[in-house]
Point group: C2
Chain length 346, copies 2
């Protein structure tokens, strides 16, 4: 089944939800072009989420997608937190910041029953999850209002698990993808596969549609993913320079620079492996630090370093999320870009 | 330019040279089907190479390829070798082997002037290299007899370097590929990209044809690579079960088992990062060991462990090379398989 048949969109294209660099404006533009626009919700307060839901339900042309995280927060680990703060202490000193003054951050919340009650009246047409799925009762509730449920698979085992637990389609996240790896059955990074390996194997193993993500940057990439059996394609990095995205100037400058050639999977910003452009934080603390607290706890002590550096015009401690193929990023409207990406769909 | 125009083959398909699991029989079958058959030469003695050259030059239908390594051997490092032997000592004890009796192995030799003199009379139509290129005089000599020169790029920088140093085409080796990474400008593994990211960026950056390698396992994969701009496709893993390959029974059994789902980049077999099916040696010593001597030196002390284990029917210390997508492996003739792989070439 092609994705547009499952979702009710005109195009089999999904704009990847990207927390921190977009709001409903990007989603609306993609919807208007016929794709599935997505709103990243994991870092939104209840009030902010409600406001965005009002915007989306009033203004979206066609279906739209809400994205949540389905991780379980790890127990606090004081010893690990202390190790991490010790590792970060020299940077606090360098910036004249007080490491004792770290505030618990809003962080990233897993989807919960309160959030379900908040979104239910808006009957979102699509709800996608990262890091697995919430409990069965929540999935059933979403399906009861006609919502379609998507989640991310980074291995064959995860794809089979998601299909067995009620996903309507699976997003095959190749190793090329920017941002957080959606892995949830294992933390072993050697299990993570490139799109050319993961996608066709998931297509062969599953009965539900598979959406290809990771490394796709233009209409040729979309065509190639479809040739490998994808029902549709999810793209994120390619939208980062669009005016509708809230990508910071620092992040945009990095994407436009030579530095964008080198991304790495790093856990230094959140504790979970995520792909971003290599900067000082990744070089000096990572890319994969054994000192970092588990996802999402490492982010709390990094946040002040990011904020202080950004104030001085430096993105060296910012998560500059990007996939390995950022060659398709263009500073044109997301509407126009979506139409370009769809140009070779048969 | 499509690859068949450069190489003079009927098909834009290259059989990847795979040292240790094939000889000229596999290459001849692929040539007969219209592809470019390849002979891995880095582990052959001068006599064995000469004999294979006689076979290829007499029997090949169409052009054929000789593959060599262009690495520089690292200086001996007694301290590192001692560390490595200490790490391996428990396995020697377990098997009742004498670690003091390790013989210097034949290892992998870089291409040298003597080898050039040996192959020159046969005027091989194509010569491909891994780990860069040999010196300019050698490249010129090959071109003087009409030979085409290929080499492997794992990054944009390597692709540009190879083009500037005389390569006629570049093999874009995505992270999905089995066997040794061809990287030669940097040892930083975070620079390695999946095929979806590496291939189109190399195609855009270079003027010479780009051959896609890594993760391609069937006719759909070939079509997808061509959609991304590849001039041709190189495949290795897919041929491992063919009767013309010399793949051991242990290796074939691993490829046919659940274990094949999990490959990793490991340096425990040679010292250089290479992708193989995860077994005990990789699990317990790696996947990436800081104790292993540099490529190819780690192999010497591993060889007796491999041999002793294989005698007891165990592949737990054997390099079970495989790409991340071994779903296309079939125990059919390489001739038939090559024709199947070409089925969707436009």
């Amino acid at each position: 089944m092609r994705l547009e048949n499952l979702l009710g969109t005109n195009l089999p294209l999904v704009q990847a939800p990207m927390a921190g660099v977009q709001n409903s404006a990007l989603a609306l533009a993609v919807c208007r072009a016929g794709g599935l626009g997505s709103l990243p919700c994991a870092m939104l307060s209840a009030e902010a989420l409600h406001n965005e839901l009002v915007v989306l339900s009033e203004q979206a042309e066609g279906p739209w997608n809400l994205n949540f995280f389905a991780h379980r927060n790890p127990p606090a680990d004081d010893a690990r937190e202390k190790q991490w703060r010790n590792a970060l202490a020299p940077y606090y000193t360098e910036l004249g910041l007080d490491i004792g003054a770290i505030q618990a951050g809003a962080g990233r919340r897993p989807f919960d029953p309160e959030t379900l009650e908040l979104i239910a009246p808006f009957r979102p047409p699509v709800v996608s999850f990262h890091f697995g799925l919430p409990e069965a009762a929540i999935i059933e509730r979403i399906k009861a209002w006609g919502g379609k449920v998507l989640s991310t698979a980074t291995t064959l085992a995860e794809g089979k698990w998601l299909q067995a637990h009620g996903a309507d389609a699976v997003i095959a996240q190749g190793l090329e993808a920017g941002g957080h790896r959606g892995q949830f059955l294992s933390t072993d990074l050697s299990l993570q596969m490139g799109t050319f390996a993961l996608l066709p194997q998931l297509v062969a193993a599953l009965d539900i549609p598979v959406i290809s993500a990771g490394g796709i940057a233009d209409a040729n990439g979309v065509a190639a993913a479809m040739a490998l059996g994808a029902a549709g394609v999810q793209m994120g990095t390619v939208y980062l320079l669009c005016p509708e995205a809230t990508t910071t100037e620092l992040h945009r400058a990095a994407l436009n620079s030579e530095a964008a050639q080198h991304t790495a999977l790093t856990n230094v910003f959140s504790g979970g492996p995520a792909r971003g452009i290599v900067n000082r934080a990744i070089r000096e603390l990572g890319p994969l630090s054994e000192l970092a607290p588990l996802f999402p706890l490492a982010g709390t002590a990094m946040a002040p370093l990011r904020a202080a550096n950004e104030k001085t015009g430096s993105g060296e401690f910012s998560p500059l999320w990007s996939g390995q193929n950022n060659s398709g990023c263009k500073a044109i409207s997301a509407f126009e870009l979506t139409r370009e990406l769809a140009a070779k769909i048969g």
